[in-house]
């Protein structure tokens, strides 16, 4: 038990430190690296909760794909952080006000937190006993059965996202020479070569 507690505090502390550094780093590339550290620690927290599938997904998707994409974008765009920070003094009070209100709200909510007595019985898909069935298997059992509607809907959302990004960025450019392999393969000697018998003593006209 004590090991779990220690692990929790280590992961939680590191996640908070990582999160703060994401905001306060001057170099955006460093921010992204700290973000990756935060993701790893969040994954650790999920493992402690017994949700190893979510933990692995977090590492694979967020660290492996999203954060790497962030890195690419940050490196490709020339982000000048000092320019972004120029107007910050004007907005800092408004930001602090909103943040303060939100913090007060959160404190109120979590200090007076109760859970509905029958909450456990209402749950649509209660967490099964990890000794009987693994987390991943349990998710697989409901994802394509009870939750098939959401699964399909999520697929359509991704399709719309794909159509949208293509519509908003794709341009047909003229004057670009592209390799058309079919044309190259279909090319025959007779299309381009002409065999000429050259008589001796005469050149080609």
């Amino acid at each position: 038990m004590i090991a779990a507690a220690i692990a929790f505090y280590v992961f939680a502390t590191m996640a908070v430190i990582g999160g703060l550094n994401v905001i306060f780093q001057r170099n955006p590339v460093h921010s992204v690296l700290w973000l990756i550290l935060t993701f790893f620690n969040a994954a650790g927290l999920f493992v402690i909760l017994g949700a190893e599938f979510v933990a692995m997904i977090l590492v694979v998707v967020y660290v492996g794909a999203v954060a790497v994409l962030f890195l690419f974008v940050v490196m490709m765009l020339d982000i000048n952080i000092t320019v972004i920070r120029e107007g910050i003094h004007k907005y800092v009070w408004a930001g602090l006000l909103v943040g303060g209100v939100l913090l007060a709200e959160l404190v109120t909510v979590f200090t007076s937190w109760v859970m509905f007595d029958d909450a456990a019985s209402l749950s649509t898909a209660p967490t099964p006993d990890p000794n009987v069935i693994t987390n991943t298997e349990a998710l697989g059992n409901i994802l394509y059965t009870d939750y098939v509607y959401l699964f399909q809907a999520a697929g359509i959302i991704l399709l719309v996202a794909m159509i949208g990004s293509i519509v908003l960025t794709y341009r047909t450019r003229t004057g670009v020479r592209k390799q058309v392999i079919a044309d190259q393969v279909a090319r025959r000697p007779s299309d381009t070569l002409e065999m000429v018998k050259v008589e001796s003593g005469k050149g080609l006209q």
């Binding site: 937190w113 399909q152 908003l168």
Partner: protein, 479 residues
């Protein structure tokens, strides 16, 4: 083994999803005029989906493990959304011919947006609500930024996207608080948890977050900042779409969620909604006065109309719900008609959007001027026209629910709002004639005529139009 879910209630959605995929292929492989070809097929898809909604309308059922509910109310709301979507695509046909920026993805994305709206309306679980909402929103972000070479469109798209993502975040955060209390996300489970449990700060905060997220989607004050920019930056047929379909869908969802799972917290949400409602009515009326772009004007007008429709929701009685449904039905026709007029504002083959481009229209093109006059009188709520009855029903519902101050504010703000509707009429009839508009396209003229006629004859034949709305409101309060 788990059983195959009952697909019959969701036939319309499944059909629309499949036809969206099919239309995408048609658009890619069709060589001649793909935009209008796909747009025509999209209208066909909307019509077939409407028939499917009507045929699966019989009884209230849920399916997909209780995540998807169908009853008379959802069917009626879906028909309204499909009608709005169909009108918008129909208005797109002549526009696509005249304007070079149209591409076949436009109607395809609109089909998916309508699918998202129908999923929202039928949502019976916080997760399916969010999924439907997100499908709708994502499609709308794309539509808003569609005119990508245009600075305003890009600004509109980015603004809408960032604020919309924030609103979705609020909604999700609120949902997580509610889930944390009740241990379930299904509307049925939430209703029983919230009715038997004591009031709890966490749930109330969560509910307010959910309300904020939804208020953003219907562009109610104070979550309306994106509306004028998005209306101005989007292509006009898309603006017509924006002004009807998503609003109807989100308002119906609002109604379903507040009188469903959150019914027992009515005392709490009523206060929040009264503020939103009053602010929308007043700001919609006042801010529109200074607008010179007719699409921005319509944005503020729609903000005001959302305020009036919300009165029916605040009343929280079957009568109020009925009033709100009437209001949306009438609003659909008024708004589509007005956008048909805006789409016929062309001077020398170029679309114009200035209010002053209408000057002297009664002399240069009396038919359009007459149609717009009827529509504007109706929007202002002048008695024999449909718009008056829309307002009348919600105000009466508010008075019967004991909300007399709210009704008084509603009447006052509609008087203020009448100013800018009447100003358009004054510009058309009493100002010096300008260059005059080009002859409108046939289909634009047809939509304009149908909508103006619907607004005029409403008083003669209200029963057939309202019978469906009555059944819908009754179904909502049954359970």
């Amino acid at each position: 083994m788990t059983q195959m879910p009952n697909l019959v209630p969701a036939y319309a959605e499944i059909f629309l999803a499949l036809s969206g995929l099919l239309l995408l292929m048609v658009g890619v492989f069709r060589k001649t005029d793909p935009v209008r070809g796909v747009a025509r097929l999209a209208i066909l898809a909307f019509s077939v989906a409407g028939v499917l909604v009507l045929t699966t309308n019989a009884v209230a059922v849920t399916t997909f493990s209780g995540m998807f509910a169908v009853n008379a109310f959802t069917s009626f709301a879906k028909l309204l959304v499909l009608l709005g979507g169909g009108f918008a695509v129909f208005l797109m046909l002549p526009w696509a011919k005249n304007e070079g920026i149209a591409r076949f993805e436009l109607p395809v994305v609109m089909v998916f947006a309508v699918l998202g709206m129908m999923m929202m309306i039928s949502a019976n679980d916080l997760i399916s609500l969010y999924v439907g909402l997100e499908l709708q929103s994502l499609s709308l972000y794309v539509l808003a930024a569609f005119h990508r070479g245009n600075l305003r469109a890009t600004e509109a798209g980015v603004k809408y996207f960032i604020l919309g993502a924030l609103a979705s975040g609020l909604l999700l955060y609120g949902s997580s608080l509610i889930y944390g209390f009740a241990g379930t996300t299904s509307f049925v489970g939430l209703a029983s948890a919230l009715s038997s449990a004591q009031e709890n700060v966490g749930v109330i905060v969560g509910m307010v977050f959910v309300i904020s997220g939804l208020a953003f989607k219907i562009s109610a004050v104070p979550f309306h900042m994106w509306t004028p920019d998005v209306y101005e930056g989007s292509p006009t047929p898309v603006t017509a779409f924006f002004s009807v379909a998503p609003k109807i869908a989100a308002l119906c969802l609002f109604l379903r969620i507040l009188v469903g799972p959150f019914d027992d917290l009515m005392f709490q949400w009523r206060q929040v909604l009264i503020v939103i409602c009053v602010a929308s009515m007043l700001w919609g009326a006042v801010a529109a006065i200074a607008q010179s772009n007719i699409k921005r004007l319509m944005a503020y007008s729609s903000i005001g109309h959302v305020g009036y429709a919300l009165i029916g929701l605040v009343a929280a009685t079957p009568e109020g719900a009925r009033g709100m449904i009437y209001y949306m039905l009438i609003y659909l026709f008024m708004n589509v008609g007005t956008f048909a007029v805006i789409l016929s504002m062309r001077v020398k083959d170029r679309y114009v959007e200035g209010v002053n481009d209408l000057s002297g229209l009664s002399k240069t093109n009396p038919a359009i001027a007459l149609a717009l006059t009827v529509l504007m009188f109706s929007m202002a709520g002048i008695p024999p026209l449909a718009g008056f009855f829309g307002k009348y029903f919600v105000f009466v519902a508010a008075i019967n629910a004991g909300l007399i101050p709210l009704a008084v504010i509603g009447v006052l703000s509609s008087v203020i709002g009448a100013y800018y509707y009447l100003r358009l009429i004054k510009i058309m009839y009493f100002d010096e004639a300008g260059e005059g508009l080009d002859k409108p396209d046939l289909s634009t003229g047809v939509v304009m005529g149908v909508c103006a006629l619907a607004v005029v004859v409403f008083i003669l034949v209200p029963e057939p139009m309202l019978a469906g709305a009555d059944a819908a409101a009754a179904a909502l309060f049954q359970g």
